[in-house]
Amino acid sequence: MKNLHMKKGDKIVGIILLIVVIISLSATAIYKNAIKGTQNIAVIKRDGTVLKTIDLNKAVEPQEFTIKADNGNFNTILVKNNTIKIIDANCLHKECVKSGAISQPGQMIVCLPDRLIITVEGQASSGIDSTSF
């Protein structure tokens, strides 16, 4: 079983990987901290265009709606107790449904087959307002 032994380059690669992981972890932590705001706005996008924005801080009562794509695909979205989640979809693997509920800035739900993405943003940016209203 000589292939299972460590070789001399393994340590170097291991150290490089450790540094990369630490850098990426801290970079995303800093970014998530920077976008944190007083608001939690859920933004539903397809292909980069905003379909709907929901203020999660005001969303306490359950609210359910379905977003349909041109090709007949759909995603049913539930907003409840300041969180948002996809509860049903007709895509194959239902990764978006498995993602569960999100509520904090920086979190996201992705549905690749429908090219749908739900993100939570800390502040209502003026760009979103101008495109959705």
């Binding site: 079983m1 292939n3 299972l4 990987l17 996008k45 194959l92 498995k98 993405i117």
Partner: protein, 167 residues
Amino acid sequence: MGKTKKMVLLSMLVAMALVIFLIEAQIPVIAPGIKLGLANSISLVALILFGWKEAFLIMIIRTFLGSMFGGGLSAFMFSLAGGVLSNLVMVLLYKYFKNALSIPIISVCGSIFHNIGQLLVMAFIMNNLNIILYLPVLLIAAIVTGYFIGLLASVLKNRLEKIITRI
């Protein structure tokens, strides 16, 4: 090894990879985007036992057949981007650093680039760079699963080598 024998062996590797891939698809995932990628161990074994051309061939045929059995076009593009990038990294590392790096570490690097490739395709399809926030989770997952796949590939390689030298 004769041409026919090699073709039979390669087809059997493709079949193995496909079956592993389809069984693995039935296992529920812990988090979206994270899975073992057991089928990649076959590509790695093919790279060690045959060469880079055969490894690429097995990966591409397996991805194509895999998305025919379940997945569709978007899943095909998605897996292919990850597979090509990961195989490319493993081929280069194996070619130039074979003596310095052990198989599990080469596999870890392959896994990492597999996930990076998928992440880039995802960001491109979704037209959203925020997806990069997934990177740390995927990196850690790739290191764990990649190491496991590498261990599996080295065991598999040792066993297959004995059989192949006999035929």
